[in-house]
């Protein structure tokens, strides 16, 4: 017998010794936790899949510039060519240029949005863009893991920016922004419903209490939050009241007084709404909304209405061009019957941009539909 060979074979049995499954898993978990608690230091370059890593002195650089000069370098890139920033525009989380889009391109856009309303509208648009990105990732089955977490963070951050900008905006803009936020939370959470860890938690959002309440209520029940309804109805009533005041020359005093009385009643009802008693509040708002619907119905029989496409509010009436159909104008008594649809083309939006939408206004119902508000 070859003793030498047997000696080495004797040792071979040790080859099968390995960590037990439980120990292997436990150690792996602890190692990963350690790695996450002690992350890589700045300026370390890791060569994935390689057995070799090297440290880069200074830090990651662009054109040899230190990290602190990165914004300057990016600005330079814009001057040299808009290529990078343009290329970044179509990116989603996980793409190399996505940070350029969110941290640079959008900062530039924000710098050109002068005033609280413009800034809020921009942030609302950016929120819609975040949702589009999430939708794109979802359609590619990439809305999970680290990319999913990044996307969620991006949406949350954009919600916070939108809510923050909206606090200084006027009521109409704020309502639109709030609706967009509610829509963002609902839509995103619906996209990630298979992975609850990615769902946006309302409590974790750094937004004001009203917005938080609005989102929570909206998530709890499908109808739009009562606070949002209250705001939008108030906006609608105020707009109508202003319109009546400025139209004193065109509308007979008798009719105008009757219409103003309805608006005042609606305004009183909606101002009086207590958000704590939700059911009662909704009834009250519905009542106010019906009154406003009557006024709007009456007004749209007097001329061509200009409607803010964002809020669905009548912002102007051109009395010189009466609507094609609907002869019985201005008796102030056109109650809740479906008036013939008035086609309104138009119009100048609150931010001065010209909308070319053609809206069919169904006298008392479709205004709500255009604003996306369902009672």
């Amino acid at each position: 017998m070859n003793e030498e060979k047997n000696t080495t074979e004797y040792l071979h049995s040790l080859k099968d010794i390995s960590l037990s499954e439980s120990s292997r898993a436990r150690i792996e978990k602890e190692l990963l936790a350690h790695a996450q608690f002690h992350p890589v230091r700045e300026g370390v370059r890791v060569a994935a899949g390689s057995r070799s890593i090297r440290q880069v002195q200074g830090s990651t650089s662009l054109f040899g510039l230190r990290l602190t000069f990165m914004p300057l370098a990016l600005l330079l890139a814009v001057f040299i060519s808009g290529g990078v920033t343009f290329a970044a525009q179509g990116t989603v989380p996980g793409d190399a240029l996505y940070p350029v889009k969110t941290e640079f391109n959008e900062s530039v856009r924000s710098a050109f949005a002068i005033g609280a309303n413009a800034e809020t509208r921009l942030q609302t648009k950016l929120l819609a863009e975040r949702l589009e990105e999430a939708g794109e990732l979802q359609s590619e089955n990439r809305l999970s893991g680290d990319i999913g977490v990044n996307m969620k963070t991006a949406v949350e951050s954009q919600i916070e920016s939108t809510a923050s900008a909206a606090t200084d905006a006027d009521t109409a803009t704020r309502v639109v922004a709030t609706e967009a936020i509610i829509n963002a939370v609902t839509t995103f959470n619906a996209m990630v419903e298979n992975d609850t860890s990615l769902a946006i938690a309302v409590d974790a959002l750094d937004v004001d209490t009203n917005t938080k309440t609005a989102i929570s209520t909206s998530l709890a029940s499908n109808p739009i939050d009562v606070a949002v309804l209250k705001n939008s109805t108030e906006t609608r009533a105020t707009a109508l009241k202003n319109l009546l005041v400025t139209s004193s020359a065109e509308i007979s005093t008798e009719v105008r007084t009757a219409l103003e009385a309805k608006v005042d009643t609606a305004l009183a009802l909606v101002t009086d709404v207590s958000l704590e008693a939700e059911a009662e509040a909704r009834t009250q708002i519905t009542e106010a909304s019906n009154l406003l619907g009557e006024v709007e119905a009456a007004l749209t029989t007097m001329g061509t209405a200009t409607i803010d496409t964002d809020t669905g509010t009548i912002i102007d009436i051109d009395f010189s061009t009466p609507p094609p159909a609907e002869p019985n104008r201005g008796d102030g008594e056109t109650q809740n019957q479906n008036q013939s649809d008035t086609t309104t083309t138009t119009d100048v939006d609150v931010d001065g941009s010209v909308d070319t939408d053609i809206i069919n206004v169904d006298a008392d119902a479709s205004l709500e539909a255009t604003s996306g508000i369902n009672l």
């Binding site: 010794i17 390995s18 439980s22 057995r51």
Partner: protein
């Protein structure tokens, strides 16, 4: 942007870290077990070895051979343990004595492992490690020398003597 870049580096480093653990975890555990003859302790030193390896990754130190580096770290960690062991009381030392391995392993296999481990435990630590690294892990004397801070020649001589001593234990 810096944040995202750093985040990606962290993810890459974590992946490299786990890959190394999956690839070399068992070998390092065997090495530690042969050196300290106690399963629980060998697991602890294995974990400590990889934690020190992470330190290299996070600092971005140049690593040309992950396996060699891991054995070197494990060897030093085991040496540290021996130093500490000298300081502990007799009672503690008895508690940290030889222990059977892997409770999840079938009894007969476990018995075979323990017999071999028991036999080689009578050899010097230097003999045990060189026998394991050569005959179990299949490493050449040059690489073993690099890991343990010795010349390839020294390792070859030590291996020759260790094999003879083991043979003597088995066949006398």
């Amino acid at each position: 942007m810096a944040y995202v870049s750093r985040y990606m580096k962290q993810k890459e480093a974590e992946q490299q870290f786990l890959d190394a653990y999956h690839q070399f975890g068992d070998a390092i555990f065997r090495f530690c077990l042969v050196k300290v003859s106690n399963q629980e302790l060998a697991e602890d030193i294995t974990q400590e070895t990889f934690i020190k390896y992470w330190q290299y990754l996070r600092d971005g130190k140049e690593i040309t051979n992950t396996r060699s580096l891991l054995y070197t770290i494990a060897n030093n960690a085991a040496k540290d343990w021996y130093k500490k062991k000298k300081a502990v009381s007799l009672d503690d030392r008895m508690e940290v004595g030889k222990e059977p391995i892997a409770v999840e392993t079938p009894a007969e296999v476990q018995a075979a492992y323990n017999e071999v481990l028991d036999t080689i435990s009578e050899l010097e630590e230097g003999d045990r490690e060189v026998l394991l690294l050569t005959h179990v892990e299949g490493l050449p004397p040059r690489e073993i020398g690099e890991m343990l801070g010795e010349s390839a020649n020294t390792i070859s001589v030590r291996l020759n003597r260790a094999t003879k001593r083991l043979k003597k234990l088995l066949y006398v």
